[in-house]
Structures are given as C-alpha cells and as structure tokens.
Amino acid sequence: MQALTNRVQQVERKKLTFMESLYLPAVIKGMFITFSHIFKKTPTISYPEKTRPFSPVFRGLHVLNRDEEGRENCTACGLCAVACPAEAITMEAAERKVGEEGLYREEKYAARYEINMLRCIFCGLCEEACPKDAIYLSETFAPANFQRKGFIYGKPDLLIPNPVTEPEAYAKAKGGRVSGNKY
C-alpha cells in the first residue's frame, strides 16, 4: 500500500535471535528488574495519618471570612451568586440592628447563606467576584455524606471561627492564604 506521508516508519519484523527465542534470558532479566523494586521507596501516603500537602491556591471548601475584630465581612450583595456558573449559592439579606455592630461590618448582612456543595464546581469565581473579601476557597475538600441535605452547607458550616474568641482555630482555618482587597 502506498504510504500517505513521508514520515512513515516501516515496522521491523526481524526473527527472534536464538537467545531471544529461549524466552528464559528475557524472563530472568525481567525478574531482576522486579526484584530491584523491593528496595525502592514506595510513594504511598498512609492517608488518615498523613495527608498530601496542598498548594496555597488550592480550590477546596468555601470559607466565609471575618475581619480582625471578628465582624463578618459578607454584605449579602449577591455578586457571588450571580457569578457562580452552577447557581450553587443562595442568600437572604437582613438589616443590622442597633446592638449588633460587633457582629457585622456594614448595615446589610447575610441572614441565611447557603452553598449547595453538590452543585458547586469549585471554580473560584465567587472568590474572584466578592468585593468584600468575604468568601474564599480553602485547602480542604468536601467530605462524604449519606444524604443530599448534608451537602447544603449553611452559615454555621462556612463561617471561619472568630479570631477574637478562638484565635487558634481562626489561624488554622485561614491557612497560608494572603488576604485580598477590603473596602
């Protein structure tokens, strides 16, 4: 058959040499190679005791941020919900009452904020859209669950611990992340 291009390589069909046709030398060579693998290091990580290190920009579970005084950043502006390509975020806004200045940064806050982890594709567009540095994606991933309703994360699951009342938990949840702009 005519070759279509000039880059064609003919397959070599040499007959096996006598040593090759014995198969045994090749088998023994292979067995030595396999044997040498006994002495190599295994790249296995024994999971629950040790975890693989993530990069700091890894897009994992969402975290609702607070500022240094412990006030929630989120103002329920809805930009993250609009930016989300999977329509996973829903929220209800509420007005800040007189005695709640220590809880929320501005007069509008999110009374109910839910992310459906089954819809979320962990793209990070909500993090890029947020003007208040209120939501970012951290270094963990969503654990398994038996029912669908366990995957709808509300504010208690998403809020970062208060830096004033629980500083170590706050520092651990913040991880190695560098803060974005705050208005």
Partner: protein, 356 residues
Amino acid sequence: MFLSIDTAVIVEKLALVVVVVVASLVIAMYSTYAERKVAAILQDRVGPNRAGPFGILQPLADGLKLFFKEEIIPNFSNKFLFILGPSLAMLTAMMTGAVIPWGDKIHILGRDFSLQIADINIGILYVFGVVSLGVYGIMIGSWASNNKFSLMGGLRAASQIISYELAMGISLIALLMVTGSMSLKTMVVEQQAHWYSWNIVKQPLGFLIFLICAFAECNRTPFDLAEAESELVGGYHTEYSSMKLGFYLFAEYINMFISSTIMICLFFGGYDIPFVNDAALALKTGTNWMALIHLVVLLIKVVCFLFFFMWVRWTIPRFRYDQLMNLGWKILIPLALFNMLVTGAIILLQQNHWHF
C-alpha cells in the same frame, strides 16, 4: 471382631492428617496475604496493612467476607455437579499432602511416630495420579455452570493441565532413573548425603521442565489464562460466589503449596539442611528437636518457593492459548525426552565404567 485393628495407628494417622490439613489451610490462607504483600512490594506500593498490625488479620477478613456473601446457584445448572466441582478441586489438592515427608520421626511416649502420613513405595506416582484427578474439579465446575463462557474457560484449563502433565511425567522419569525409587521418603533420605547429592545438581534441566509444568498445573501466571478476569469473563469460576469460589481459589493456593513441597522433596533435598551433616546433628540434639528443625527448614524452603511463584506472577504477562499449547507440546515434550535420553545415556555410561 475378626480383624484386630491397631487403634493406636489409626489415632496416630488421624491426628497427623488433621494437623496436615489444618496446616495446609493456614498456609494457603497466609499465602493469599503474602501474595498481596509481595505484589505490592514489587509494584512500589504498600499491601494490606489495616486489618490488624501489618494487615496480618487480612486473610481472616477475606474468609469472613466470602462466608457472608450470598450463595448463588444458577437455576438451570446441575445442582449436584455444581457443588461437586469445587469440592473435588479442594479434595485433590489436599490428598496430595498425604505422601510428603514433613520430617524424620518424633519419639513420644516411647513410640516412634513418622511425620509422613503414608510412606507408600509409589509415592511420586500417587502424587501424579491425584494431580491428574484435579482436572475433574475444573471440568465439572465449568460444565455445571451452564454458561458457554465457563465451558470454554474450563476446556482451556483442562487441556492446559493435561498437556503439561506429559512433560512433567517425562521429566519425572529421568529423575526416577537417577534416584531409583519412587518413594518420596527414600528420595529425601538419599539427598541428605552431600550438598552435591541434591537432585538439582544431577538434573538441572529436569528441574526447569518440572518447574514450568508446575506453574501450568497450578494455573498460575504466566499460564493463568483459564481464570484471568479479563479472559472469558473469569473462566470456569464465573458463576461461583461465596464459599464455592473460595474453595476454588483456596484449592489453587493449596496446590501451589503442595507443588512447592513436592519440588523441594524431589530436587532440593526435602527437609535436609544444606551444608550441614544431618546425621551427626541428629545424634547431638535428639530426635524430637531434629524433627522440629527439619520441619522448620522445609517450611523455609517452601516460603522461598512460594515467593518465587509470586515473583514470577508479577513479572511476566500471561501466555495466549496457542502460545501455551505450543510451549507444552512442541517445546517442553521434546526437551523432556532429550533430558531423559541424555540421563539414560549418562547412567549407562557410568555403569559401564565410562566405556562405550
């Protein structure tokens, strides 16, 4: 009672049988664990290490899993034959363990108990006969599955086994010409003299042929075409579940263990400690300790052989069916015949004081 039955002998042999059966089962169980660990080590992984420290209880977990699974017997298969298949496979696997010399003898309560269940004078022929019966287990199992793929798988397995039995038999003939006796105990005792009286030195080619045939008889890679998962949907044990499948898999491991032991008794001196004068050592330490040492040495050799089986499994890809048949009939049988002729010639020359 017209016959005077020596109940002591019956009790002694029964106890020995129970011990050998239980030991075979335990060793087969742990060779499944060893298989997974060896496979993992050869593949840069860590094997099972969660069930108990270092995964030691893994075979128990596997056994329990098989027990708890649902026993499915297909509707239109022959129920008696369906259950008979794995039982036959297991039976023939265990029966071969009856003639293996596990040690010399132990001296308890003033009596000598030999550590071999049956020291018949046709030892190796008995083993050969029982291995030939092992074909029945596979054929009956595949026929009773009422499944054309199982039948094809069983046909292939059966034809593979009987093809390689021939080469095994012929290489055994050469060995028998050298040893002069078929009893395994005599063979082991003869090999205890010097390190160069081990039959591997006298019959290297015979050992190679026997080894390859043992791989084929145990349906072990590279000859595991009949039971590979990607070939014919799992071959002759497609329709089996729960303990019947467990019996087939177990019978394969017991076969492996017994084949290793037989190869060791034939070629590697059985329970002989290499480079050590066994008779002198026996006089120094006493019979019972010597029997224990011999048993431990035999088990160490078996472990090395089992490792070798697994090492080969995880190195070589499996043969295609026609390559397998080609190897069995066109290459191994002529080689075994050649071996036999050369051995015969050398023995005749030796008897004739090296004149022609």
